[in-house]
């Protein structure tokens, strides 16, 4: 699970183009949205595609993203449970 969390941090930084943010700065329990990273609804759509492309999880309802993307912890837990890749 720890590997997955670190992997997620790398991917999020890359996919969302967060140039000035390092992996160490992203804490597992920090809120991803509404927190220091300044992510918005367009970023949520990007993360939904990430779930599909890298982990084979298709999310039909974008609104579900709100719960899943609360933090690195919640994201990792969701992926562990639902991944097909």
């Amino acid at each position: 699970m720890e590997n997955l969390k670190t992997e997620l941090k790398h991917k999020i930084i890359e996919v969302l183009n967060l140039e000035d943010v390092s992996v160490e700065e992203v804490k597992d329990t920090d809120p991803l949205f509404g927190g220091g990273l300044g992510l918005d609804s367009i970023d949520a759509l990007e993360l939904i595609v990430l779930l599909d492309k890298d982990y084979g999880i298709k999310l039909a309802d974008p609104k579900k993203g709100k719960e899943i993307f609360q933090s690195i912890d919640t994201m990792a837990a969701f992926i562990e449970e639902n991944r097909t890749k």
Binding site: S41, I42, I48, V49, P62
Partner: protein, 399 residues
């Protein structure tokens, strides 16, 4: 000085008809144009429906009798069809007789061709002529060339409010005496680029769009072109022109909330409608019908509904319908085709139905007109709201 601008001609091509008459017949008979994608290749064919015009580019080229070595893209082809009809309907014989202009609008521009050859032009020398035809400005120059027009030509691109803005700017040029007449509107073809772009935003429905319905899932894209001809009072008088309707009000404002989503209280929409009413000098009670933007996305219809209530008052919103269940959302052309539909509504004293509606939205008490309704209509308000928070409203009045 009268603030109304005379509309003396109109032309349209959409998935529900190839000209004004055919579009009207479809609207009257409830016949929509949403279908499976046939005219271009995409993995989404069969799952995403659109308001597709069932003419190939080659067929359009033939209809327009263009020379073989042309480099005209689909957006321009559709634009030429509609502009040709508009000019004819305005009974213009010599297009350069007066100071005439063309203000078109587009978001797709030449993308239908570009996306096919962008990375492989080197292998297709005979297609390289389309490199010049990619940009938006080129499509308007092509349409102007087709009409034989030599004058002021401009192109607006503000996403889904584009054609409304073109119409607005045309009106200003006439009001200020810069032009005697101007052909205004917009055109957009379907393209893989746009289809996929909207799909990534997760605002497309996998079925038929249901504007203002509580269970709405999103929009159907469409393609279309429409132009109306605006002429100054002097030219109308001198040429004894028949006036189809008047453009009596307009307004543009910016939501300044988010790049693609509208604000919760519909501030941009509210300001645009408020401005249009102000310019028209009309009391809000004078509006007989609203052709709403009504794309059937969860966000737009909620935001637009709230804005309408803020303008007109709870329980006092005029009768309204979205015609996007007929044609799909035709992006830059939307306000253009809806201008034509608004004028038809007034000419024939009829409100076109908001198809596919089943359940009222829970947030407020707004129910669109769902069956064709006969009604004397003196003033129509038409909304068009685009990405980048661009909100535009037009008001048309009976002639």
């Amino acid at each position: 000085m009268s603030r109304k601008i005379a509309i003396t001609g109109m032309g349209i091509i959409s998935s529900i008809g190839n000209n004004v008459e055919e579009n009207f017949i479809s609207l009257k008979s409830g016949k929509h144009g949403i279908s499976d994608i046939e005219m271009f290749e995409t993995r989404h064919a069969g799952s995403i429906k659109t308001g597709e015009i069932k003419w190939s580019n080659e067929e359009l080229i033939q209809q327009l009798q263009l020379p073989e070595d042309n480099n005209v893209t689909r957006t321009s082809l559709l634009g030429m069809m509609a502009a040709r009809e508009a000019v004819k309907s305005a009974e213009i014989s010599d297009i350069n007789e007066y100071k005439t202009g063309l203000i078109s609008s587009t978001s797709v521009a030449g993308m239908d061709i570009t996306e096919r050859y962008f990375y492989s032009y080197e292998d297709f020398p005979e297609k390289q002529k389309y490199i010049d035809a990619h940009d938006a400005g080129n499509s308007s120059l092509a349409i102007a060339d087709y009409l034989g027009l030599k004058g002021m030509v401009s192109t607006i691109s503000t996403a889904c409010s584009s054609a409304a803005n073109a119409i607005m700017m045309g009106a200003k040029l006439i009001k200020n005496g810069v032009l005697d007449r101007v052909i205004v509107g917009g055109t957009d073809s379907l393209s893989k680029f746009t289809l996929n772009g909207f799909n990534t935003l997760m605002i497309l429905t996998d079925s038929y769009n249901t504007p203002f319905d509580n269970d709405r899932k999103g929009l159907n894209l469409g393609e279309a072109a429409a132009f109306i001809v605006l002429e100054s009072d002097e030219v109308v008088k001198k040429e004894n022109k028949k006036v189809l309707a008047y453009l009596s009000g307009y307004g543009n404002a910016n939501d300044a909330h988010h790049q693609t989503a509208s604000s919760e209280n519909g501030q941009g929409a509210f300001l645009a409608m408020q401005q249009a009413l102000k310019i028209s000098g009309l009391e809000k009670e004078s509006i007989d019908y609203i052709n709403v933007h009504g794309t059937a996305t969860p966000n737009n219809d909620l935001s637009e509904g709230i804005a309408m209530i803020r303008i007109f008052g709870e329980g006092q919103v005029p009768e309204f319908s979205s015609t996007k269940a007929f044609t799909g959302h035709t992006l830059a052309a939307a306000a253009g085709i809806e201008a034509v539909f608004s004028i038809l509504a007034m000419q024939h004293s009829v409100i076109f139905p908001n198809l596919n509606f089943k359940t009222k939205m829970q947030e407020f008490d707004l129910v669109p007109v769902t069956e064709l309704k006969e009604k004397n209509i003196n003033h129509v308000l038409s909304n068009s709201f685009g990405f980048g928070g661009n909100c535009s409203t037009l008001i048309f009045s009976k002639s």
